[in-house]
C-alpha cells in the first residue's frame, strides 16, 4: 500500500492535509493548521529538522503544493484565500509566502483585510529568507535571490534580488 515506512510516517505527520500525493517525504517537524484545504502533490519533500515548517490555510482558503516541490527548514506558507505552488518549486530556508497582510496599513488595524492570491508557477526558486507578499505572481522559472521581497507579477525566467525586488538579469531569446 505504501512504498515505505518513511512515506507512512510522512502521511501521519500530514494527516490534517486534505490530500497528500505519493512518495511524499517529511523530515523533522511540520506544523499544519487552519481549517482550510491543503493539497500536497507527489514527490514533495519537506525538511523541518532545523526549524519547523508551517503550512496554514484559513477557513475557506486553499494551499496547493505542486508535484516535486522542495521546502527547506522554517518555510512558512500562509493562505487566507489561495496560495498555489506549481510543480518543482524550491523554497530555501525561512522563506515566507503569504496572501494576506493581516492588518490594514491605513485603517483600523484590527479590521479584516482582503487577501490577494499568490501564484508560483513551475520551477520557481525562492531564496533564503525571501518574502513573497499578497498579490505576487511569479511565472515559470523565476529565481528570487536570498532576502528578496516581492509583491507583484514577475515575468518568466527573471532573476530578482533586494527589497523592494529588482531584476538582476534577463533571459535572452
Amino acid at each position: 500500500m505504501f512504498a515505505s515506512l518513511d512515506e507512512l510516517a510522512a502521511r501521519a505527520r500530514l494527516w490534517r492535509c486534505a490530500q497528500v500525493g505519493a512518495r511524499v517525504r517529511v523530515r523533522g517537524r511540520v506544523v499544519v493548521h487552519g481549517h482550510g484545504r491543503i493539497v500536497v502533490g507527489d514527490d514533495v519533500s519537506l525538511d523541518g529538522r532545523e526549524v519547523p515548517i508551517e503550512l496554514f490555510a484559513g477557513p475557506g482558503a486553499e494551499l496547493v503544493i505542486g508535484d516535486g516541490c522542495v521546502l527547506a527548514a522554517g518555510v512558512s506558507l500562509e493562505a487566507h484565500r489561495k496560495v498555489a505552488l506549481g510543480p518543482r518549486c524550491t523554497l530555501d530556508r525561512l522563506a515566507k509566502v503569504m496572501d494576506s497582510n493581516f492588518h490594514a496599513v491605513n485603517a483600523d488595524r484590527l479590521a479584516p483585510v482582503t487577501p490577494a492570491p499568490v501564484l508560483l508557477d513551475e520551477g520557481v526558486k525562492v531564496g533564503e529568507r525571501s518574502i513573497v507578499l499578497p498579490g505576487a505572481h511569479l511565472e515559470a522559472g523565476v529565481t528570487l535571490l536570498p532576502y528578496t521581497v516581492v509583491s507583484r507579477r514577475v515575468r518568466a525566467g527573471a532573476t530578482l534580488r533586494g527589497c523592494p525586488a529588482r531584476a538582476v538579469e534577463k533571459v535572452k531569446g
Partner: protein
C-alpha cells in the same frame, strides 16, 4: 513524537487562556510585568538587566520562541497591549523602549548594539507595526503608528504615521493619513 503530539493537543479557549497566563507568570517571574500579559508559546527570557512588560501584552505561539535578551545594566521596556508573533528577538545592551500597542510580525529583530559596538537606544512609538522579517538597527526611533514593511532593514528614523520600505529602508512619500482607532 510525543512532544509533537502534546503540542498539537488543542485545549478549549478558556483553558488556553489560563495556561498562557500561567506561562507568562512563570517566564517573566524576574521581570516587572503588568496584569493580563499572556504567553501562548514559549519565550526565551535572558534578563540580566531591567525587563519591564506592560499590561495585556501578548506573545503568540509559533514555530520558534521569541527571545528577550537584556544585558547587565540594560533596560528593555515593552509597553501595554503589544502583540508579538513568533521568532521576534529583542536585545538591549543599554535601552530599547517599545511603546504601547505595538505589533510585531514573525522573525523581527531589534537590537541596540550590533556585535558589541557602542549601544544606541532604540525607541518605537506607540502603535507602530513592524512586519515579518524586518530588522531595526541601533539608534533608530520609530514615530507613533509608524509602519515598517516586511523584510525591511531600518537604518534611519521613521516619522510618525509614515511607512518605511526596503533594504536600506526609505520612507514612503505618503503619510498614512486616515485616523484610526488604536
Amino acid at each position: 513524537m510525543v512532544l509533537d503530539l502534546l503540542r498539537r493537543l488543542e485545549l478549549p479557549q478558556p483553558a488556553r487562556h489560563v495556561v498562557s497566563r500561567l506561562r507568562a507568570l512563570w517566564l517573566f517571574r524576574h521581570a516587572a510585568v503588568g496584569r493580563k500579559t499572556l504567553a501562548a508559546g514559549h519565550v526565551k527570557v535572558d534578563a540580566r538587566g531591567a525587563l519591564e512588560i506592560g499590561e495585556g501584552t501578548y506573545f503568540v505561539s509559533g514555530l520558534v520562541p521569541c527571545r528577550l535578551v537584556v544585558h547587565p545594566g540594560g533596560r528593555l521596556h515593552i509597553g501595554s497591549r503589544c502583540t508579538f508573533n513568533y521568532g521576534v528577538t529583542l536585545e538591549a545592551r543599554r535601552e530599547v523602549v517599545i511603546g504601547d500597542g505595538c505589533m510585531f510580525g514573525s522573525w523581527v529583530h531589534i537590537t541596540d548594539s550590533i556585535d558589541g559596538s557602542t549601544p544606541k537606544p532604540v525607541r518605537l512609538g506607540a502603535g507602530s507595526w513592524v512586519a515579518h522579517g524586518a530588522v531595526i538597527n541601533p539608534g533608530v526611533t520609530l514615530g507613533e503608528r509608524a509602519v515598517v514593511s516586511a523584510g525591511s532593514v531600518v537604518t534611519q528614523d521613521v516619522p510618525a504615521r509614515m511607512m518605511a520600505i526596503g533594504n536600506p529602508a526609505r520612507i514612503a512619500s505618503q503619510a498614512l493619513t486616515r485616523t484610526e482607532k488604536t
